[in-house]
């Protein structure tokens, strides 16, 4: 509760032109927004530009933000809209990740890990947009269903249906080839 009121006060101050307050908001939320965009399937190369776009929208809307929802909910909603535009502009193929394995790993292990990550990303990117968003918000970001519903502006029941469908589709997409490496 205190954390929430602290955040509200910070947002209010930022909306009134307090640069320090905005810097604090950046400090707290910018890494989370970048990670969220990456998990949604945005390419590493475009993360900074998209994050910038998200926060420019935030800057433009701070004066109008009335605190009807949590700041983080509002922020994730903006990030989602920005990622949708990105997905419309770019081919999903370009969203595949770079090798995230540690350079010290043996080459065959690195290759295996890379293949798994690629399959996972591909499976995620092949999901319909709404299912992917609901899945990432609910299961990866671990937000409560009510908040996901608030961000996606759909009823909670719809969120549950979408996440169920997303899990089902992901399971079937990950199953055949994963089993060869397990």
């Amino acid at each position: 509760m205190t954390e929430l009121s602290n955040e509200s006060a910070l947002v209010l101050r930022a909306g009134n032109g307090d640069r320090e307050a905005f810097a604090e908001l950046l400090e707290e939320h910018l890494p989370a927004v970048r990670a969220f965009l990456l998990r949604l399937g945005v390419a590493q190369d475009d993360l900074d530009d998209l994050t910038q776009e998200v926060f420019l929208t935030v800057i433009g809307g701070l004066k109008q933000f009335r605190g009807g929802s949590r700041f983080s909910t509002w922020l994730l909603g903006i990030a989602l809209n920005t990622s949708r535009s990105w997905f419309r502009r770019r081919s999903p193929e370009l969203g595949l990740p770079e090798d995230s394995a540690a350079p010290s790993d043996p080459p065959e292990r690195r290759l295996l890990r890379r293949e798994r990550e690629e399959r996972l990303d591909r499976a995620l990117l092949e999901l319909p947009c709404r299912l992917r968003e609901a899945f990432v918000l609910r299961h990866v970001e671990q937000l409560p269903a009510a908040e996901v519903a608030n961000i996606l502006r759909v009823p909670e029941g719809t969120v549950r249906r979408w996440t169920f469908q997303a899990r089902k589709q992901l399971r079937s997409r990950l199953a055949p080839k994963e089993s060869t490496h397990e």
Partner: protein, 190 residues
Amino acid sequence: MNDQSDESRRLRRAVLRLRAKEPVPERPSLRAELLLAYAREFRPQSSLARARRAALVLAAAALVIAACLLGARDWHPADPVAPRGAADLARLELRIDLLQARLLVPPRPPTAAFQPAQPAQPEPAEEWSSQVRLLALADRDPALFRLVSARTFETIDRQAAAGRYRQLLNDYAGGPAADVARDRLAFLNQ
């Protein structure tokens, strides 16, 4: 059953992998750029900028008001005066002729009340056109001049014309022009 638990395990691992995904380090200038954008958005306005903005708002409001007034002047689709203008003008000219006759009559002597009324003098200048006569008369009589002016205004703005007639009644309550003004005002108020 085993297949199902395998699938669930795979999905859980996938979720954990997704959570563990780390973005590459951010561009060093990213936060500075955003802070700059923020500062630009929330820059306090100088008094000059505020005054300029206020002047712009006032100018825009004045333009809108002027446009509305001009529009109201130029467009009278349901104005009842316009179709009856010719008949009205004829009536007014007749009244003005009568006025002219009354104005040209020399003042009666005090005993005139006990004498039979003098016949009105014939119109002195039959050759004058009614317009010229009217203007000449109006030129000599400020009340008549204002009467003609108010009548002309009727075709442009009835409210303004009524205001002029009221003003005329106020300034020349007892004169002959006031009679005409009272009639016109009654007509306009119908």
